[in-house]
Amino acid sequence: MPDSKDLSSPELIKDKGSYHPINQMKDSLMNLLISYGFEIVEGPEIETEEFNFDMLNIKKSHPARQMHDTFYVNNKSNVLRTHTSPVQIRGMLQKKPPLAFISGGKVYRKDDDATHLPMFHQIEGIYVDEEVSFANLKDLIYKIVKALFGDDVKLRFRPSYFPFTEPSAEVDILSQNGKWLEILGCGIVNPVVLENCKINSEKYSGFAFGLGIERIAMLKFGVRDIRDFYKSNLDFLNQFK
């Protein structure tokens, strides 16, 4: 044991470990959203079709419900949640508006190739109050994207389609190589979803948004292969201390 007064002794460096980069990204984003007034809600990864699809206005005929897109478990009695939106449904059934929820965690889709994994992470948020508009949603999205990528980031909103939002949008940022990269989806909560959660859609409106954590983390950290996050390679993890 070196003498504490030994001035020539080398610095005793205790090797610290690290949080997984995906959780670093998730937690820091969740904290940002909490600072805007959102609260965290949590829910199970094994979900019913009712919460994962029906309540979100995803009809039986929607391709996402097919066996090639969704993992079904225990003789089709349940699904592995394909998004974190069912958590918000559970939240809305428990609390009356105004409400502002975020939920983050693992989601599952039946994909496995160089750019898609069967398990990945999402953060989704929902805000429901009187007279919530698309213009309000844009304000929040600008704040999030600027917090992530700096004040000079250029972004664009373009129309998209999600059964649970209408109007729906996807947001792209302009990368350094001049290409637009999709980073999140958002929209005005479809009144059908509010009504499914016993919320009067004539009185209340809301917006929702969702981000894929891996995509944001890849952009933020410069990771090119999504699979690197899940190899548990210490040389990789060590870089995110």
Partner: protein
Amino acid sequence: MKISYKHIANCLIPRPDIGELSEKLFQLGHEHEIFEEIFDIEITPNRGDCLSLDGLLRDLKLFYEIEKKHDIFQKEILPFKFEFENKAKECCSNISFLKIEIDEVPKRYEDFLDDYFSILNVKKINFFTDVSNFLSYETGQPTHCYDSSKLNEPIMLDFLDKETEFETLLDKKIKISEGDLVFFDKDKNVINLAGVVGGKNTECNKNTKSVIVECAHFNPEIIIGKSLKYDISSDAAYKFERNTDPYSHDFVLRRFIKIVESHTQIKKVELLSKSYAKNIYKFIPTEITKINKILGTKINENECLTYLNKLGFEFSEGKIKVPSHRNDISTTNDIAEEIARAIGYDNIKSEPLNISVTNNFKVNFEEKKIKKILIDHGFYEVINNPFVIENFSESVTVDNPLDSNRKYLRTGLKHSLINNLLFNERRQKDSVKLFEISDVYTNTDHGSFGKRTIGVIASGRIDKNFLNFSKKITKDYLEDVLTQLRLEKFSVEEISRDTLNSKSKNKIVFCEFEIDSSLVLDSFFDDLRLDDITGKEYKPISEYPSSFRDLSFSIKDYSQCKLLEKFILNYEHNLLKEAFVFDYYKNEKLKEIKIGFRLIFQSSKGTITDNEVDIVMDEIISSALAIDDTVSIPGLS
């Protein structure tokens, strides 16, 4: 969907350049890439009406005058006495059969038709099928051509009552399932898997002069999943899955006749049209105030209606009539999206938002506290996916796994963490300390039950600093670490390497327990902020093996030790991956410090050679010895 810039631009006034057209398509929500003047557009699943040239032109009418050059056959068409029975009217609300007989099969195509095949690199098949394919590209409505000489009436649309083998016109034999919607002929032979692919037995060929063109509207639900199920690439199924316009058939078939007529003499043309549905036009109240509330805009009624009118909507008695091709529109929110697309999402000004709600969901910070304690002890967090081959009685079964090795959900974290540990040991890591926190699911009498679970695994050196370098991880070590979590009870186990195909002699220690509400820790946690992760830039890691050298110095002048340490630890070389002090001893009697450094080398280009390492080592040694005369390397002559 691939579509030619030229085909779109030729119909637009004023004619946009490709960049402008691209911008307009993005504004409308038609995400795409461009390859040599071909737009590869990803049409969203709700916009099946845009899966064609005409469909896109309808949308682009918001910005341009449209000059279509699609002539149709204007004359009266004689009725077609065709024996057809629809036993699945709920799945096929509208259907038409057009019979055309021609004098000669054309030897060459008109430029507009030829253009389609050459520009889009589509393979020609036979005249009638080629017209059908072009028409699908132009109008979005799939049609199917039967060689009329091969068709045995009466034809019936019905559900299969038993599994049947069917040879498609793509020369593929498939077994279609009971319950699938098919067309039968007189002898109950399947001649068409409805909305997906026709049969070999009635296909047209290069000599076909008499054709029956089927033009139908199928309920998307009856088509969805079929092409994937039977591994058939079908443009028709893709379009029917996304819905087609039930009222387009007359236009489409008259266009079909016109294209045929522009190539050859028509001897006979007859048409049978059946519609089983009532008027399906939808009407939505005109609610301009509500639209502005949804969007946060102040658009006047006139502007709104002008946009909608350009998109084909009509108005009467305070209601908006939705065109028949827009089956995605049924509420005021849908109308608001049309207005937003017209003005451009980016042109809607953002409105400041202050969220003020009472938070009442309890947040559990204990998990974050556990993580901090482990990370402070050198543990790395890992995340594994839950799919495993191991099956226990309580395992949750995946009904449609990616493969047979991923058929169950793991019931614990042990196996994943062992795999992670061995993976790193194979990469020359002599100290591996990992943990994972995850929900773990098992079946119970009351359904699937999730437990928030933590697994901790460790093996090898406790640390690489000079105090712990030679100490190995044991059960006691992990118990000491976990004691800080103040758990009521936990059990650290030593995992045998006997079945792990591992040569290492280091002990593997592991512990797994549930994180439940009873866990209360009196400690801090890291509240991560975006600022904390900004600047962390990943550098690709080498997959080639590393090599290490130990370097021990003797120092007589104590004051030089810090200089030497600083020099070695800060030494930069692209082959030097890591350096640390693994040994330190101060001998007051001999007035001497002995300090040992471990230097780890690795190349990104290949397996590093001794020679490459020696060159760097020589540089380091000569510079280190030059620090002071009292710095030496014992044994170095």
